[in-house]
C-alpha cells in the first residue's frame, strides 16, 4: 500500500515533464520506479487521447431559422396579451352588470288551448302575455324572461279556389294546405259551397268560413284544428255561397 503523500507525489511527477524529478524519485524509491513509469505511461496515454484528426474542418453553422431572442418584442407581446385579457374581463364585467333588455310583449291571441277542456272556444282565448316590470319573470326571480311564441301554422299566405265542394271537404282542403289535421265536431253544417280566397292564411280562411257558416276554428295543439259549430247561430244564414 502506497502512502497517500507518496501517491500524490508520484501523480504530480507523472503529470510533469521534469526528467530530473523522475530520476530523483527513482533513486529515492527504487521499489516504486516501475509504478512511477506506469503512471507516466497512463498520463501520456490520457493526454494523447485528445488528438483530433488532422483533417478536421469546421462545418458551417446553420441555424438561420432561429433568431436571437428579442426581449423587447417578447415583453411587448406579453404586455399586449395581458392588456387584452384585462380589457376583456372589464368588458364582461360591465356587460353583465347592465340591465337586461326589455322583451316586448308578445301577442299570443292565437295560442293553443288545452285539448281536454274546450267547452267554449271564444271564452278560452287567453289574454296577451305581457312582460312584468323590472324585467322579472312570473316566478319573481331575476332571470331574463324568454317568451317563445308557439309556432303559428297559418303564417303562409295561400290561394284557394273551389267551384263546388261541401263545407267540410273545403275545411279539410284548407287545413291540409297548412299540414294540419282537422277534427270536425258533430253538428257542424255541411252545405255545398264555393270559395275563392287569394293570399290569405288557411286559418283566416277557416275563420271567414266560420263566420259565414256558423262554426269556430280552434287550434288544438301545434298541428290540429277543431271545428266547433255555433249552436245559437241562425242556420237560416247558411245560403251555400261565399264570395
Amino acid at each position: 500500500m502506497i502512502p497517500k503523500e507518496i501517491d500524490d507525489l508520484m501523480w504530480a511527477i507523472a503529470e510533469g515533464t521534469d526528467q530530473a524529478a523522475i530520476e530523483e524519485f527513482g533513486d529515492r524509491y527504487p521499489n516504486l520506479r516501475e509504478e512511477l513509469l506506469k503512471r507516466i505511461r497512463t498520463i501520456k496515454a490520457l493526454k494523447s487521447g485528445s488528438r483530433l484528426p488532422r483533417s478536421i474542418t469546421t462545418p458551417t453553422f446553420q441555424n438561420t431559422q432561429v433568431r436571437p431572442a428579442n426581449w423587447r418584442l417578447i415583453w411587448a407581446t406579453f404586455s399586449l396579451a395581458i392588456l387584452s385579457i384585462v380589457a376583456f374581463g372589464v368588458y364582461r364585467a360591465n356587460t353583465s352588470s347592465l340591465p337586461k333588455p326589455v322583451v316586448p310583449p308578445v301577442d299570443l291571441s292565437h295560442s293553443q288551448l288545452p285539448a281536454t277542456n274546450i267547452p267554449d272556444a271564444t271564452q278560452n282565448i287567453p289574454q296577451p302575455l305581457r312582460v312584468p316590470q323590472n324585467n322579472q319573470n312570473p316566478q319573481g326571480n331575476n332571470q331574463p324572461l324568454v317568451i317563445t311564441k308557439p309556432p303559428n301554422p297559418s303564417n303562409g299566405l295561400k290561394t284557394m279556389k273551389l267551384e263546388s265542394a261541401t263545407l267540410q271537404a273545403a275545411i279539410l282542403l284548407i287545413a291540409e294546405e297548412d299540414h294540419m289535421t282537422v277534427t270536425i265536431a258533430k253538428g257542424t253544417p255541411n252545405p255545398t259551397i264555393k270559395i275563392d280566397y287569394v293570399n290569405m292564411t288557411p286559418m283566416d280562411m277557416l275563420k271567414d268560413l266560420g263566420q259565414q257558416y256558423a262554426f269556430t276554428p280552434v287550434l288544438d295543439g301545434e298541428h290540429a284544428i277543431l271545428i266547433i259549430p255555433k249552436k245559437d247561430e241562425d242556420e237560416g244564414q247558411i245560403n251555400g255561397d261565399s264570395h
Partner: protein, 190 residues
C-alpha cells in the same frame, strides 16, 4: 500538468462576442463557433468515443447555445458555460447509446472510430476509456484534453471543488487499471 487559464483578453473577447450577438450581430456567433468548434468536438468525443456521434452532439450544442445565449448569466466564463452544456448533452447521448448498443462488443466500438482518428489514437486508450462511465470520461477529458483546472471543472460539471478533485483522482485510477490491462507487459512486448 500545466494548468490552463484563459487569458483576460480571451475572456473579454468572448464576452464582447456574446454581447454583439445578443445585439443582433450574427457574425459574432460565427466567430464563437469557429473558435470553439474544435474544443467542443474534442470534449464530446472524449465522452462519447465515437467521432461521428460527437460531431452530431457538437452541432446540437451550438444550436442550443445559439437559441439560449440570452440565458447565459455571465457569472462564469462563456467557455465554462459552453463546456457545461457539452458535457451534459454528451453524457445524455452516451446514456442513450449505451441503452441502444449495450450488447455491442468493445472491439466493434473501437472499430467504429473514424479512420483518421484511428491513425493517431492508440486503440488501447479507446478501449480503456470505453470501460469508464461517461462522467469519468467527462472529467478526464476536461482535465487532460481541455486542460481546465479544477475550479473550472467544478463549474463545468456543477460540483464543488473537493468533489471535482476526488472524482478526477478516482477516474484517473480507474483509467489506469483498465489501461494497464490493455498494455502488454515488457516481457510480452519483447
Amino acid at each position: 500538468m500545466s494548468i490552463y487559464f484563459e487569458g483576460a483578453g480571451s475572456f473579454d473577447e468572448d464576452s464582447i462576442l456574446v454581447e454583439r450577438f445578443l445585439a443582433g450581430e450574427a457574425s459574432a456567433f460565427e466567430a464563437l463557433y469557429a473558435k470553439y468548434y474544435g474544443k467542443v468536438l474534442s470534449l464530446s468525443k472524449g465522452v462519447l468515443i465515437s467521432e461521428e456521434e460527437a460531431a452530431d452532439v457538437t452541432q446540437e450544442v451550438f444550436t442550443l447555445v445559439y437559441r439560449n445565449l440570452h440565458r447565459f448569466n455571465r457569472q462564469s466564463k462563456f467557455s465554462t458555460w459552453l463546456f457545461r452544456i457539452t458535457i451534459n448533452r454528451s453524457i445524455q447521448e452516451s446514456r442513450k447509446r449505451r441503452f441502444k448498443h449495450k450488447h455491442v462488443e468493445l472491439s466493434e466500438a473501437a472499430e467504429s472510430v473514424a479512420p483518421e482518428a484511428m491513425e493517431d489514437a492508440d486503440p488501447r486508450i479507446q478501449l480503456a476509456m470505453e470501460k469508464l462511465t461517461p462522467q469519468d470520461r467527462a472529467i478526464l477529458t476536461l482535465f487532460y484534453w481541455q486542460e481546465q483546472n479544477l475550479q473550472e471543472i467544478s463549474e463545468s460539471m456543477e460540483i464543488n471543488l473537493n468533489a471535482a478533485k476526488t472524482r478526477l483522482y478516482r477516474a484517473r485510477e480507474r483509467f489506469r487499471i483498465y489501461f494497464e490491462k490493455e498494455v502488454p507487459h515488457d516481457s510480452e512486448r519483447n
